[in-house]
Amino acid sequence: MNIGILLKEGPYNHQAADTAYKFAEAAIKKGHTVDAVFLYNDGVINATNLTDPPQDDRNIAARWSNMAKEHGVEILACIAASKRRGITDDIMIEGGSITGLGTLTDIAIRNDRLLTFGD
């Protein structure tokens, strides 16, 4: 099964980013393809490389970056939502990029499932 994920909340403030990650990890382990994680609303804050959580906490941005590198999952931040929140190409995590809502539409069209995680 090919899966797209829409993530609508930022990291740490809400569990959504953790559940989305855990789900994606389990899906990949089972041999499914996670095509992309599209970040929307405050979800775009998942894509900044400026976060610096305490060492004994999970590093949510780094987790997404590693998933992009190791499993080819596209981490995509919506450009309109990013502009509102100060997320730019300069501070993008490795493996992440900024794109438009048209890409989300493509993700919805080309995958078997589109799952939403948010508040």
Partner: protein, 97 residues
């Protein structure tokens, strides 16, 4: 269609709204703070029992564990992220944020 509910029913109308639209046979999965809905003996236990007459009801076990919920309403099945993936494979998804 798989319905997921991620907010506590004490905080949000999501569960009550979802239940009005669920089609007979549709599975319902409680995740995140949504799992408080299935703690046995709370004021939603009857609603969960009524829902189970037409729908299988699941709760994400890691979310139950994280919240110290060891006693769930009768018939509610705890599943892991693996089980979540299996449900998604079998159904389109409707997440009641």
């Amino acid at each position: 269609m798989l319905h997921t509910i991620n907010t506590s029913p004490f905080e949000s109308p999501a569960m009550e709204e979802c239940i009005r639209f669920v089609q007979p046979g549709d599975p319902v999965l409680f995740i995140e703070n949504g799992v408080y809905a299935v703690q046995n003996g709370n004021r939603f236990t009857d609603a969960i029992a009524a829902l189970q007459k037409t729908s299988p009801v699941f709760a994400l076990q890691p979310d139950l564990d994280a919240r110290g919920i060891s006693s769930v309403a009768p018939g509610v099945e705890g599943i892991g992220y693996d089980g979540f993936v299996d449900l998604v494979e079998a159904h389109q998804v409707n997440s009641w944020l």
